[in-house]
Symmetry: C2
Subunit: 188 residues, 2 copies
């Protein structure tokens, strides 16, 4: 296979895996269901990804890469806005829900937690860099440490993830995002 | 059995069930494990609670009753403070994690979602009443609707639940709670 074919195959696997995790959850996404949703045999799938964990983490890393780009350009609140806009798609809540499902593993399986942590760390780092640029530009409030503002934004993001994963709608989210943005902005 | 005995038995069942759900998660808390943790036979347990769902929801309702009292007296941020203080107890993250586990059921099982919603509605109502009293007292910011402030606080609470359920610590939470309280307070 050429590199182009390999990349296309990888994208096909990740897209199908995401749909499968969203529909059936982490536990419910059996190898058989992954095969059906992806349209490839287990041999072909696990030629590209070591195991189900690696497949799951690769889908999460794909999200993280998109989030890092959005954070760098427009901040973590924009990530929340984008997420809320996709809330009506059934795959959104399902995929977020499958992330909640792994919370037990995150608490009890240090290797899995370390692999997940790389993803969170990339987003945290992008958020911190964006906040530092905003502080230099004088648009960020100056009376609180960067890390407090960063953790405040991450807490709000986590809250939106839980909210959507529990099947609640996000139609009234915009005024709340406005309040969050105002809370971190420099007072004029 | 006298009413006192019935109440004590009910408390014993709920305490054991909470420990069991915290240790093994919702799915992992089998009837056998519930029997062991509670120290009663399945017959005795399900004489008081119809099924595992009812037991799970009763533990959650117990939490909700405590939360409603704290909200009425000191607001939802105090609930977050109390939760963060119990974060080091292994049962805290485990029990929160078992709540994340039911997110799929909340999205797909309307009857279960309706029973869970009663719990959320009681906390939301207590929060709204507290905010209305605070607005009358002139300590709440007056430039945003009560429901926006309420949803902002609920989002932050959900964020803390997810944060702790994922096994992260809460030692640096106080400055973040300070920022949240300031964001809803009337400017002096």
């Amino acid at each position: 296979m050429s590199q182009d074919h390999l990349d296309a195959r990888r994208r096909q696997i990740l897209a199908g895996a995401r749909t499968c995790f969203a529909r059936f959850g982490y536990e419910g996404a059996t190898v058989r269901r992954l095969e059906q949703e992806i349209g490839l045999s287990r041999g072909a799938i696990f030629h590209h990804f070591r195991d189900k964990d690696s497949l799951f983490l690769a889908v999460a890393e794909d999200d993280a890469a998109t989030m890092v780009e959005t954070v760098a350009d427009n901040g973590l609140v924009q990530v929340m806005r984008d997420l809320a806009e996709r809330a009506h798609e059934p795959e959104t809540a399902g995929w977020l829900g499958s992330q909640l499902e792994v919370s037990r593993r995150l608490r009890t399986d240090p290797e899995f937690a370390a692999r997940w942590e790389q993803r969170s760390a990339a987003i945290a780092e992008a958020t911190r860099m964006r906040l530092e640029r905003q502080r230099e530009a004088g648009v960020l409030r100056a009376d609180r440490p960067i890390e407090v503002i960063q953790q405040f934004l991450e807490l709000a993001y986590d809250g939106l993830v839980l909210h959507l994963a529990m099947g609640r709608d996000a139609k009234d989210i915009e005024p709340i995002l406005g309040l969050i943005e105002e809370a971190v902005r420099r007072r004029s």
